[in-house]
Symmetry: C2
Subunit: 417 residues, 2 copies
C-alpha cells in the first residue's frame, strides 16, 4: 500500500488558526497525498500556546518545566485531532498521533528538549494503511515517560526530524509568510523573497531573529540533507523559498555576498566593568553563566588599559534577570568594580554565503551604519555573518540603511533567479 515517495508537511499556528484555515491546509495535504505517503505535523492553533502560558502564570509565577510541558503539549494534540476530523469529513482516511504514540523520544529536559530519536514503526503502520498521519508537533517524551516540549518554533524541528527518520523526499514548512526575505518586509516593504537560500545562510538568519524557521530544524535538515521549503498555506500555488546545500548554491554560481539582513530586538547587554586583566577571567564568567543555562550571544572584551579590562556580552532578554543575578554573585570573585546592563539594544546582522570570498563587506556595513549616524556598540563575525549590537531605537533605521547599501531590494531577483 505504501507509495514510493514520502512527504512531510508542517503547518504553523497561523496556518491552523481556525476552521477555515484548517480546511485550507487539509486541501493542500490531500493534493499532496495523491502522489506520496503523507505526514502532516501541526502546531497549536493561533495564539493557543501564549494563552496556555498566561493561564499557567495564574497558578504559579514560575511553573515547573515538567508541568508546563504537560500543559503546553495539549495545544498540538487539539489541532492534530481536529485536522484528522476535517480530513475524515473531506473523505480521507487519517489518524492523529501524539508524541508518545508517534515515538518522538527526546533527551530528559523540559521546555527546550532535543529529539533523541523517532521510533517510526507506528507512523509507518498508519501510512501503510493509506492513512494521512497527523502528528502533534512541538512535543516529545523522554525514555522514562515524561512529556517534553522542544521550545518555541519546535514544530519545525518535529517536521524535519520525522522527515529524516522516514527518509522523506521533501519537507515543506507552511507558515504565514510566503518564503524567506532579504529582510523583514514589515520594516522594509521592498524586501525581496529569496527563491533559494543555503542551509548555512538560513541557519544564521534563523538564529538571528528572522523567525521563519526554528534554527534546530535547519541544522537537522542540513545534517540529513532534507529537501526543505518554506511556503505559505495562504498561497499554496507559490513555491516559496527552497533551502539547499551551500555546495549546490556555489555550483549554481548563485553565491552572493549578502543574502539577507536580520534584526534581533530581544537582546540585552551586560558588562563587567573594571576587571583586572588576569588569565581565567572570561573563563570564570562564561563557565558560570553556561552552567546556569544562560546562553550568551555576542562577547566583547576591551583591550587592557593600565591592567584593567571591561567584559561585555549580550543575552536574550528572557535570561536577563537570571544573568544579572549570576553576574552580581561573581562580581567580587572576578575582582570587577561593578556589573552594568542595558536592555535598549538590538543586534543587526547581514548573512551571505559568499561573504568571505568578497573582502570589504564588513566595512560596507559599518559605513552604512556610520552614514546613518548609528553607533556600533559591539561587533561579532562568523564565516557567513557579521553582527553589530546597536541602540534599540535605531534598529529599524539600521535595517533600512544596510538593506539599501547592499541593494537587496533592487538586485536580488537578478542575482538569484
Amino acid at each position: 500500500m505504501l507509495k514510493e515517495k514520502t512527504t512531510v508537511l508542517k503547518f504553523g499556528g497561523t496556518s491552523v488558526a481556525d476552521a477555515e484555515c484548517i480546511k485550507r491546509v487539509c486541501s493542500i495535504a490531500i493534493e499532496e497525498a495523491k502522489t506520496a505517503n503523507l505526514v502532516m505535523v501541526v502546531s497549536a492553533m493561533g495564539k493557543t500556546t501564549d494563552g496556555l502560558v498566561k493561564l499557567a502564570k495564574e497558578f504559579n509565577s514560575l511553573p515547573e518545566g515538567r508541568e508546563l510541558d504537560m500543559l503546553l503539549s495539549t495545544g498540538e494534540q487539539v489541532t492534530a485531532s481536529l485536522v484528522s476530523m476535517c480530513l475524515h469529513e473531506m473523505g480521507y482516511a487519517a489518524s492523529s498521533l501524539v508524541a508518545w504514540q508517534a515515538g518522538f523520544i527526546t533527551e530528559r529536559a523540559h521546555n527546550r528538549a532535543r529529539i533523541a530519536k523517532i521510533k517510526t514503526e507506528r507512523i509507518q503502520g498508519h501510512l501503510s494503511k493509506g492513512e494521512i498521519v497527523v502528528l502533534a508537533g512541538f512535543q516529545g517524551i523522554t525514555d522514562c515517560g515524561e512529556v517534553t516540549t522542544l521550545g518555541r518554533g519546535g514544530t519545525d524541528t518535529s517536521a524535519v526530524a520525522v522527515a529524516a527518520a522516514l527518509g522523506a523526499q521533501k519537507c515543506d514548512i507552511y507558515t504565514d509568510v510566503d518564503g524567506v526575505y532579504t529582510t523583514d518586509p514589515r520594516i522594509i516593504p521592498e524586501a525581496k523573497k529569496l527563491d533559494i537560500v543555503s542551509y548555512e545562510e538560513m541557519l544564521e538568519l534563523a538564529s538571528l531573529g528572522a523567525k521563519v524557521l526554528h534554527p534546530r530544524s535547519v541544522e537537522l535538515a542540513k545534517k540529513y540533507d532534507i529537501d526543505l521549503s518554506v511556503r505559505s498555506s495562504f498561497k499554496p500555488e507559490d513555491k516559496g523559498t527552497k533551502v539547499i546545500k551551500l555546495s549546490e548554491v556555489e555550483r549554481m554560481e548563485l553565491t552572493q555576498a549578502v543574502t539577507g539582513v536580520a534584526l534581533d530586538k530581544k537582546q540585552a547587554k551586560l558588562g563587567f566593568i573594571g576587571v583586572p586583566d588576569t588569565p581565567g577571567i572570561a573563563s570564570k564568567i562564561f563557565t558560570t553563566l553556561a552552567s546556569n543555562n544562560v546562553s550568551v550571544d555576542v562577547i566583547l572584551q576591551s583591550v587592557a588599559r593600565e591592567g584593567i579590562i571591561d567584559v561585555a556580552f549580550t543575552v536574550n532578554q528572557d535570561y536577563l534577570r537570571k544573568a544579572i543575578q549570576i553576574s552580581e554573585e561573581i562580581v567580587k570573585e572576578v575582582g570587577a568594580e561593578k556589573v552594568v546592563h542595558d536592555e535598549s539594544v538590538a543586534k543587526i546582522s547581514i548573512v551571505g554565503a559568499g561573504m568571505l570570498n568578497k573582502p570589504g563587506i564588513a566595512s560596507e556595513m559599518f559605513t552604512a551604519l556610520f552614514d546613518a549616524g548609528i553607533n556600533i556598540q559591539m561587533i561579532t563575525t562568523s564565516e557567513i555573518k557579521i553582527s553589530c549590537v546597536i541602540d534599540l531605537e535605531h534598529a529599524e533605521e539600521a535595517v533600512k540603511a544596510i538593506h539599501s547599501k547592499f541593494n537587496l531590494a533592487g538586485t536580488v531577483e537578478e542575482i538569484i533567479v
Copy 2:
C-alpha cells in the same frame, strides 16, 4: 516514605472551573495529604468538554470516536497540570499524570470505554516520594496505545477505580452539590440531604438521572467495597453523603421505604404497533437494537388482543434517531403495522432499600400520580426501584406529588440521622 493511609479525592468540572476554585481544592488536598498518601483525580475545567465537542462539530458533523477521544482528553490534562502547578506554588511536591503514564488501561472502545486495569507502579512511585499525584480523570488508553475516554461523568469512575487499585481507605467525590438529596433541590426546594445511602440505592439514583455520581463508579465502589462520599468543594466542612453497604444500612435499622425520587427527562419512547403475537418478536427487536449499540431502558409489551400486540420501549434521546432508523429497517420483518415515537416523555422513579419489605409502595406512587391527574404510560420495577414513564410536561409536578406523598421533605432527617 509511604504513609499508612491512602486517600483518593475527585474534583469535578465546577470544582476546578477557575484559578480560585483550583486554589480551594488544593487547600482541601493539602489538608488531607497531612495524614494520607494522596491521589487527586480531576475533570476538565468548567464547561471545557462541552466547548471541545462544539469545536469538533465545526470540523465534522459526526467526529470519529478515536479523534474525539484524542481531543476531549486534553481537557483533563490541562486541569491536572494546573492543579500540580498550584500545589507547587503552595509549597507542596506534586506531579500530574495522564492516562498513558498512570497506567489506566481500558477496553478497545471509544467515548464510553470501561477500565480494564490500572498498572499502579508509576502512581505508587510518585506517592512514595511524598508527592501528591494529580491524575487526569475521564481518560484511558487501550492495550494497543489508543487514547480512550470513559463517557460523561467518567472521572468519578477513574477515581473509584484508582482507589480500588491502590487499596485506598477512602474516596471522596467533590462536586458542586453537598451530597445526595431525596430529589433534585432545584425542583423541590425542601428536598433533604441524605447523610447515608446504600450503594444499591445510589446506583439506582445515579442511573435514573440524579446526576450526582457516574453509575459505573458506584458499581465499582460496591464491588471493591470502597468508602465513598459525595461532598462539596465549596463547603469542605460538610461531611456530605456517605455511600455504604446495604447490609450496613440494614444493620443500622435505617432502612426506609423510599430514599429518593429521581427524574430523567432525556427519555424518548418508541413503539412497534400491531405486531402479530408470535414467539421471537421481542428477541428480534431488542437483539437488533443491542447489536447496534442502542441501550433500551423501559420495555412494555401489551397483552395480546386478537393475536396482535404492541411493543413499546424507551431509549435515551441521544439514541432516538438511530433507534428509529433501526426500527424502520426491521418493521416489516417483525410484521408490525408501523413504528411510532414520542420525545415528550420523562421517567420518574422512586428508590429505596427497604421497598420490597414494605408492600404497597408502588400503589402509593401510582395514587400520588393519579391524584395529581398524571397519566402513567409505562411502568417498570426492580428490587429497590419503581419507575413510571409519564408525559414530559408533567415531570416536575410528578416529582412534587411523589416527594410529598412519601413525606421525604419532612421525615427523612428523623429517619436517617
